[in-house]
Symmetry: D2
Subunit: 260 residues, 4 copies
């Protein structure tokens, strides 16, 4: 399946600022970037940082002034099997690769240890992928997708109690529950079909059966129609735009279409 | 300088449990493990996981029952220059290696973005290592080292307000302030001379001038007399003992001596 | 029913300190103090403050040094009907007395607004006292009473997620859920039969049908066997002992018996 | 001094809702309402609740549908002495009236106990009103008044670290510091000259020398030009508009002028 992706960012920069962008679809792990372009006009300085795990190359714009106008376009072939997560076995803790271990730990927005008792009681009848599927369904059926109710402070604890949020909040709760069951979990920022209204999207990824698998508790997207941008512990790691001073939002537009 | 290290852990395990230990001094980066031994009696299953960045090899004890009795002994040569942190230059953001970038982000115990205004106002007159030194001195002169006032929930925000804590709290505040100044910072668990009473210790590490440098805001230790165990975003990553079920503390003893 | 109550507090006071005690059973509202004595040895200065709502008279010990040794004994007749909370109607918001209104608001340990969506979804099929009874049962069946897992920082949000705690945590969750359903709720510190191990106890009180009614989500006590000490927004208001400097716990003993 | 006050609130109510308004200037304690009018069009049901301490009469609008359009106008004589807070003595804890005692306790947005060490160290050289004045100046000189950076979750802990906020945040920090010094402190919602842009305003009140005294750490207003609406533990108690379902902001306007 091919996804035709475009993202346009417009911000006003009251003073010169360093910016970090993570908006390019990654190459590898079930997806291939066939074509792509990234246009900034002419920033003073741009640097591309080769990333750990080959999943994302953050782009720095150094000391940019006036405006940021970024246009990203890509054609990405997604070749990801439609795995039934319920069939996947958990990896015993002592067999986890070292790179997966940190994703068992608590992170900025996912203080997962607090969820142990709830997870043990509510999901004890299933293991591995079946447990993950139950968690996903539990969240999807109980939460309401509402824009504007969460903010940069909102973590999995808040969202679990408030029973609402946007994609990042759903993913944070999913990650917290998975880690509380001792299954490594992380956040992926993605472009995906099915996101309504279209925007940058975030999903959880869980480590089962020797690999990472996307789980979207909002129910809006499927892995076969999703292109990964980058991954991290939670939203603190995968922001599409990080500004090292105050900047002002002007407009932003994301489009993801099937390219037949 | 050689450090003679011993650590003894005794826990009661009411039910079979998976344990992860991070108690071995790391090899490399200014330290060499000359001799070491680790004795558990005979656990059902032990696995050693080769770690990212070669800094720490977590050890898993799988399905251990009854008691944990671990004895670690090592002789470590520390060959770390006594760098004056004040002389070190900050690395421009767009020149940071990808592996250092995540250490700019907020983490479980270090929600650093909240500290921007304070850092900008209080430490604006200095840059790079000089700024770090001022932060370290600011913490050391204002905080009181008190055992028992912080717990597993206590983060940099609490400690900053409460002005007290133990080594991990000092390190969390140091890390939060450094990141708020856009200097990558992480936590290292260590064995060190000068810790009173002797115990596992934690210090901050900041990325300056192309390398990581230890900073101990408690003022108790110096890098030249410190052996690193492992590093991570904050205390969530570097626990010396992680149990995947309830366990009961019996006793614990750490000794670090100069070996002449 | 008569309750024979005794409470003994022993603390060490490293430096002179002001103390506030709230340990005397209140008079009125379904209970009558038949006999009581309170013995401190000879503190420098003791003041009794007539309290709002006639429910509790805080006692100040001014500038006490050395040790606190307090002995309280009382015989209290409890004459509280065994009301079936399920039969009680909610009071419409605009008919609430002014004194009950603040107990709709969020408080230190009960940030109740976050629970709106959960309460609306989970308990929508019942109103007034029937809703309260469902909440109480929901908590009792899902939470585990565990000493030592909560502390002075633990609020209803934490306890709701962690599904465990002691009496104050149960009461905080009960209060948060009630307020989220727009039913005024507060905390009462009490002496009660059934508390195991015997200690100071705390329960929720909800405003239904024109009066306050005790609800104990731990299921350990019943209103007919409970003597109220004082009431407040949450645990921040009803501590049995408040010290305005560091003091050290030595021993404490509470006994409540039926006096036939 | 006479203040001419007007407040206009316009909200859209997607479904029938109960509303509580606290927007009328109080009578007494240094201010006299000479004239006032409050116009809602014709709500289904309005109830006025006589309030505790005679300071505020909350108004309930029961089951209002469609829109809320409220117009409040008043002429208030303020006859409050320009007290120099630095001259006021603290009241010894055991001499505090019972009604002031709860304002020593932690509240929703003011977890004051955490500030003990900071307050003891930073303000130890002054007592009573002189200490309060130092706290006020400390906040005013270090904080930046910025709209839009705080929200309904923001408490004194956040604001203390972030060093910025709006009037309620300044007041919360002021209250937290005062309580940490064992001086009762509360929040007053007010109409005041000097608020720029004009809006509902909030200030701290501290209990010194036998009475409550306004302290505005933003430095924008003075007690002699301020009309109190109501008081409470913190912002959780003094909201000008509380809606018991979702409502939508349309417009709002507050005007306060000197009437010569």
């Amino acid at each position: 399946m091919k996804l035709k992706i475009s993202a346009s960012l417009n911000y006003r920069l009251p003073e010169p600022v360093d910016l970090m962008l993570q908006i390019e679809a990654a190459n590898g792990h079930g997806q291939h970037v066939l074509e792509s372009s990234l246009d900034f006009g002419a920033p003073d300085y741009m640097a591309r940082v080769p990333a750990a795990e080959g999943l994302c190359e953050p782009i720095w714009l150094h000391h940019v002034a006036g405006t940021l106008h970024a246009e990203y376009r890509a054609l990405v072939e997604v070749d990801r099997d439609a795995v039934d997560v319920r069939q996947l076995a958990a990896v015993p803790l002592h067999r986890l690769p070292a790179a997966a271990v940190p994703y068992l730990n608590e992170s900025r927005y996912c203080p997962s240890n607090k969820f142990h008792a709830f997870v043990e009681r509510r999901f004890r009848d299933h293991e591995g992928g079946a447990k993950i599927a139950r968690m996903r369904d539990w969240i999807e059926s109980r939460f309401t997708y509402v824009a504007g109710t969460s903010n940069v402070e909102t973590g999995a604890l808040d969202s679990f109690v408030e029973r609402r949020g946007v994609c990042r909040d759903y993913a944070h709760v999913m990650i917290a529950l998975a880690r509380a069951a001792h299954i490594p979990a992380r956040m992926a920022s993605v472009y995906a079909l099915g996101v309504d209204p279209q925007d940058f999207h975030a999903v959880a990824e869980v480590y089962l059966d020797g690999d990472w698998h996307m789980v979207d508790a909002t129910g809006m997207t499927s892995p076969a129609e999703t292109a990964r941008i980058c991954v991290g512990r939670d939203a603190a790691d995968v922001a599409f735009l990080t500004a090292y001073r105050e900047i002002a939002f002007v407009s932003q537009k994301v489009k993801v279409k099937r390219d037949d």
